[in-house]
Structure formats: C-alpha cells, structure tokens
C-alpha cells in the first residue's frame, strides 16, 4: 500500500466575506520533498499556509499532516502539532524586543521549555549554519540589514530541527545575490534536516533552485502541479504566462481590464 503524502489538503475552502480566497484547493507533498507554490498576489498562497498552521480556520475541507486530521486542533494537541513546524516569514517577523539569539532560541525556550544556556548554544550553532557569527546574537533585529534579518529568520525556522518548514516569499525584497545566498542556505538547511517544505514565491529563480515540485495556484485552486524540471514544458498557458512574466495571456490583472 502506497504511503500517504506527508501533507494533504483536500477541497479546502475559505472565504473572507464575499471574497472566496481558497476554492476547493487540493495539494499534497510527500515526506522530505520540497514543494514551491507559485502564483500572483491575492491568489491564496499565504492563506493556504496559514490554514495548515491553524492560524486561519478553513470553512470546509480536510488538512491531513502525517496521516492526522489537523483542522480544529486545540490546546495541547495543537501545541504538539505546531512544534513540528518551522516558518520563515516574508518580512522575517523577528521580535523587535528581543536580541537576535533569543529570537533564534525562542521556540526552544518558550515552546519546548529548554534551559536558556542550552538553547543559546543551539541558537549560536544554527546562526553559524546560516553564516552569522556569535557576535550578531547580541544585536537587535532593527540593527540588521534585510538580508541578515532573513538569515536570522531562517535560523529561527530551523532551530528546533522541525520536520516541516514553510518559507513565505523567502527572497522578496532582497538583491539578486543575497536572494541566491538565501536560496542556497534554504537548500542546505533542508537537505541537512531532511524536512518536508512548502515555499510560496513569485521569484522563479528561487522556485527553480529550491523546488523538487512546483504547483501553481490561481483563484484559490491548484491549476498545475508537477516536478520542477518540467515547468518549462508544462503545456499550461497560465503557467507559461506566469513563469515568463507576460502581461498578455489568460491571467488578466484587474488594472488591465477596460
């Protein structure tokens, strides 16, 4: 019997008022694979990730992680579930009031109740893995450049060796060289941990670099899903328009309508 994929979303729907953001979304990721979800702004990428994390509750549908239904988890079961995740946010979402090392060690100290000295050692080790020296640990997030904040965010995401990691627009706002540095760090970190990952991005260079599989979301549904190396020959007009960044095609932006 074939093993169930690590993460499975089936017919997930979510509306905010009259706006239907997820319209029967179906997608799955196998254990240890890296899925990149591409799609335009407002197509439901971030909402998809937040429904998996339970930050947003779907109106209907099923989300299974490691064979367990996770929609509606509460209390200790939810805390246990969330402790399996790491996430790198688009703007890094570092805690302004804490120095860098405490940001990286936060999940270990608060979430896993680890001794602060031990958590600090792990934080410094993880910071080294993303190319940050221990001296950076004493700085506050406001003292760091955008690229360094992303690295700290990545170190925080991998600090607890999570089995699942989400990357939300990991290279947005970075120059191309720093973006490639972040992509390399993501690939290295994920390979080292063997985690299952879902990334959402507009950046095709990033998608090609970090993805095993790519899925395209449009109007709250997955319209194409396949191995990353087949995206150029997908035969899907929507995918072709998106990866080549053309204004002309089946995807019409609101501003282009007469």
């Amino acid at each position: 019997m074939a093993q169930e994929p690590h993460i499975v979303l089936s017919d997930v729907r979510k509306a905010f008022g009259r706006k239907h953001v997820l319209n029967g979304l179906d997608v799955s990721v196998d254990k240890g694979r890296s899925l990149v979800v591409i799609g335009g702004s407002g197509t439901g990428k971030s909402v998809m990730i937040k429904t998996i994390l339970g930050i947003i509750r779907p109106d209907s549908g099923s989300i299974r992680v490691a064979g367990e239904e996770v929609v509606g988890l509460k209390g200790a079961a939810r805390d246990r579930y969330l402790s399996r995740f790491g996430m790198l946010f688009q703007g890094a979402a570092l805690f302004d009031s804490l120095p860098v090392w405490q940001n990286v060690a936060f999940g270990l100290i608060q979430g896993r109740k680890m001794n602060r000295a031990r958590a600090r050692d792990i934080a410094i080790e993880k910071m080294a893995q993303v190319g940050l020296g221990p001296e950076v640990g004493q700085l506050y997030p406001a003292e760091l450049s955008g690229g360094m904040q992303k690295r700290v965010g990545l170190a925080r995401a991998i600090a607890a060796d999570p089995e699942i990691i989400f990357f939300d627009e990991p290279t947005t706002g970075l120059d191309p060289i720093m973006a490639d540095v972040i992509n390399n760090l993501i690939v290295d970190s994920v390979r080292r941990l063997g985690s299952t990952t879902i990334s959402i991005t507009h950046d095709m260079a990033s998608a090609r670099k970090i993805a095993d599989d790519i899925a395209m979301i449009y109007k709250g549904r997955i319209i194409w899903h396949g191995p990353a190396d087949t995206i150029d020959t997908s035969g899907n007009d929507y995918v072709d328009q998106f990866i080549h960044g053309r204004a002309e095609g089946p995807i019409q932006m609101e501003v282009l309508k007469p």
Partner: protein, 257 residues
Amino acid sequence: MNFLANLGRVVLALLAETGRVTLFTRDALIQGLTPTIYFRQIFDQLMKIGYNSLLVVGLTAFFTGGALALQIYLGSSRFNAESLVASIVALGITRELGPVFAGIMVAGRVGSSIAAELGTMRVTEQIDALVTLATNPFKYLVGPRIVACVISLPILVGIADIIGVMGGYIVGTRSLGFNSYAYIKNTVDFLKLDDVTSGLIKAAVFGFIIAIMGCYHGFNSRGGAQGVGRATINAVVSSAILILAANFVLTSFLFKN
C-alpha cells in the same frame, strides 16, 4: 427612513463590537490566565506599566490634590466651612479622583503603548510567528499585560492617594493658612479604611479595562501604520469611556449604604 437606517447600522455595529470584545475577554481569561504562566513577561510588564507610570501618576495626583484644596476652600468659605477642606480633599482623592485620574493617565500612557506594540506585532506577522513557535499569544502577550495592569493600578493609586493628599496639605498649609497639625488630624480622623480600599478596588477594575482594550485593539489592528494608529486611538478612547462608566457603576455598588 435614512435616519432610522443609519441609527440601526450604528446600533448593530456597536452590538457586534461588544460581542467581539466579550469573546476576546473570554479568551483572554481562559487562555491568558491559565498555565503556562510567563513570569518573566509579567515582571517586564510590571516594570513598564507600573514603575514607568509612577512619575505621570504622581504629578497628576499632586496637582489634582492642590487644585482640589483651593476649590474646596473657595467654595466652603461661602458657608464658613473651611475646616472641611482637609477631609474633603482626602475623601475626594481616595474615593474618586485618585483612581479615575490615575486610570485615565495610565490608559493614555499604557493602553496606547499596548495597542501600538501588539498592533505592530500583528501587522508585521510577529503574532503569527509566535503561533508557529508553539507559543500561545494569549498566554505570552495578553495574560502578562492583564496581570501587570491589575496589580500595578492599585499600587499606583495607593501612591497617588498619598501624593494627592500631600498636594492638598502643601497648598492648605502654605497658601491657605491652615495649621499643619490640624490639617493632618482632620485628614486622619475623617478618612476610613473603606475610602481607601474602594479606590483600590476601582483601580484594579480600571487596570483590567486598560489591558483588555489595549490588547483587543492591538490584536485586531489591520492595514499597516494607519491601522496601528487607529488601534491606538481606539484603545485610549474606549478605555477612558469604560473607566468613567465603570467608575459610576462601582461607586453605585461600593457606596450603596
């Protein structure tokens, strides 16, 4: 018809907001005040909310006590009842002006700060980040602020009572010609323990209101810097109005007999 429709919309919006605040308060009590307890966060908030508000609350109390002594003197001299100045200053400060003014000053200083801090955390996804780090934001952010406000306000009001009475004493003895011994004796003789404890009970309730309003508006802020600004204003205005309303209700109950 338009007037009735608009009135209906306002009433419905008010009811919906009241419902949301009630649900938030329920979550804050159930999730925020049950284990896990973040003692370090509570201590930090006690310093931010309590210790750092001492100066503003102290100055407010001092000038209020002084102004109250002047006003009561001017009013009571019409009836040759100047001797009541000390006792009315003490009663006025401990029962009403101490807790209300301290509450409103802390609502301005702390309520706005809580709403702005949590609002910024909301729009920069820091609250979502807490969730992904298996940390309940109600326990980590809301609970410690409620505990710190409910503990700090009575302490601040206790200090404000002393400083306010002292303000009245200084004005009374230096400017209005009262005898120092007589002023203190009048104050002590007329003041009862209930006068002070009623003010402290009010202060604890006001602290709860300030924390809930600050956290609620911060948690629900949307739309970047403008949204955070709106949350800050709403936190201060709603706290101040609720403090005044709660003061009326509490006064009705506490001084029924």
